[in-house]
């Protein structure tokens, strides 16, 4: 059985508005996750759930793009946003609890910012 889910690509600029809309419609934040999709380019999925229907807002950013924080609408988003910063090197602006890179400390800075294929040492 397939679970219902949709992916809506949006611009970074629309992010806050769209998230606000989700919040007003009574969605809860399920997760925020990033995927590296090309050199210096990342997809960020903001997943919202309501009645087991998953709505994903997708923005595509580069490491230089400053992504606005959605912690204003979803207080708990700081865990994901800190993770985004620590693992992918995506700059998030205005996190309510900013760990400044110490949320998940790694031996290599922004480990997911590089792609390693089999056989290579990270």
């Amino acid at each position: 059985m397939k679970q219902e889910q949709s992916i809506i690509p949006i611009d970074v600029g629309q992010l806050i508005g769209s998230v606000e809309q989700c919040r007003n419609e009574g969605y809860r934040l399920a997760q925020i996750g990033c995927t590296k999709v090309g050199d210096n380019s990342f997809e960020v999925n903001y997943s919202f759930d309501k009645d087991y229907v998953l709505r994903n807002l997708r923005i595509t950013v580069t490491a230089e793009t400053e992504v606005p924080s959605i912690t204003g609408m979803y207080w708990g988003a700081f865990v994901y946003e800190n993770e985004m910063h620590d693992l992918f090197g995506i700059q998030v602006k205005g996190i309510n609890i900013d760990f400044k890179g110490t949320f998940i400390q790694t031996a290599i800075k922004y480990p997911f910012g590089v792609t390693v294929t089999k056989g290579e040492k990270p």
Partner: protein, 359 residues
């Protein structure tokens, strides 16, 4: 005029089975500030998808966590199956469900033990773990592993359970149920336990929903989220009641888990009755191309495996969002204003699984 005590709580701390650090700022024993710090277990194995074929990655996915190992493996497999449009044999679905529910039993019993330990009830801890051993025995008898089962694979399961064994398990569950009843009575009725759990770490329904609480943490606050209702595996063919409680304190979360033990036993019994005969796996060919957010109900709550493949044997991304990660913001809220003695109780009330959280 505030007189503060700073207690570095963890990461090495006997009450915490897993390392998490809290900077506790106390006034007398009241916690005025509790800032968590994680990352002590971060391994970064999500990145191993770039080095391991997606079929082998099952072994890694199920080592996300040693407590709900099976569910991680199954969720990963189901995600890949969704991308690749593989129909899994019905018996495999049922077996996955049975093992998942055993995992839930195992996890909840383990949690009950640790929870009892967090408020200093050693005997209760021992009692819970004594019952848990019986669940582990079932695991070992059916999969060969006590905590890491390794019985799930893409396209089905690796081992079947003989039908007479299933009947034996069903009988066994009856006696386990009796023991669990005795155990949960203590958790739910004992005055000293209630003293330590009632009105401790209260999370309102609204907070629970908007801070992203999932699983028993959310259900204890009256938010009825249970991903089993989406009907993955064999859950669409079984009757899954959602247990909720409205108080939102540690007691409620404990209550939800206690009652879920019985739900799980009931689900296993249903599954054992209904399980059809047939093959347990299908052959998998090709590589996944596409993406899917596979969500499942782990003992701790909603688990999300986001998988993205590009048609090669190596996935582009596996992103595991575990329930504990999203339960951390509610935890931070709950810890404010509690007592030092409540800290372990509250921390454990969300059933933190740090090794999942940090991956």
């Amino acid at each position: 005029m505030t007189k503060q005590i700073i207690v570095p709580f963890g990461p090495q701390h006997p009450v915490l089975p897993e390392p998490i650090h809290l900077d506790l700022v106390l006034e007398d024993e009241r916690v005025v500030d509790a800032i968590p710090s994680i990352g002590y277990i971060h391994r970064g194995f999500e990145k191993l998808v770039e080095k391991r074929e997606f079929t082998e990655y099952v072994y890694i996915a199920e080592r996300t966590c040693g407590i709900c190992s099976f569910i991680h493996g199954a969720t990963y497999c189901q995600g890949i199956e969704q991308i690749m449009n593989i129909e899994v044999p019905e018996r495999a679905d049922y077996l996955r469900t049975i093992w998942s529910e055993y995992s839930r039993l195992h996890s909840h019993l383990l949690w009950l033990g640790c929870f009892a330990d967090s408020f200093g009830f050693e005997n209760l801890f021992m009692a819970a773990w004594r019952i848990r051993e019986r669940i582990l025995d079932v695991f070992e008898q059916t999969t060969g592993g006590r905590v890491i089962q390794g019985s799930c694979k893409i396209g089905g399961v690796r081992r079947d359970i003989a039908n007479d064994k299933l009947t034996g398990m069903s009988r066994d569950l009856d006696s386990i149920q009796k023991e669990i009843e005795e155990l949960t009575t203590v958790f739910l009725n004992d005055d000293t336990v209630r003293h330590r759990t009632r009105n401790i770490g209260v999370l309102s329904r609204d907070d629970a929903y908007h801070l992203g609480a999932v699983g028993p943490t959310a259900r204890g606050s009256g938010v009825a989220i249970d991903l089993r209702k989406t009907g993955y595996g064999a859950y669409d063919r079984l009757n899954v009641p959602v247990i909720t409680d409205s108080c939102g304190d540690c007691y409620s979360r404990c209550y939800v888990r206690c009652k879920e033990l019985f739900t799980s036993i009931d689900l296993i019994q249903q599954a054992i009755t209904e399980i059809p005969d047939g093959p347990i796996d299908v052959k998998v060919t090709g590589s996944p191309n596409g993406e899917y957010f596979m969500r499942a109900e782990q003992p701790r709550g909603e688990l999300v495996h986001y998988l993205k493949g590009n048609g090669t044997k190596f996935l582009v991304r596996s992103r595991i969002r575990t329930p504990t990660l999203t339960n951390i913001p509610p935890l931070v809220k709950m810890l404010q204003g509690c007592e030092l003695a409540d800290v372990p109780v509250i921390v454990l009330s969300i059933d933190p699984c740090i090794s999942c959280t940090e991956r």
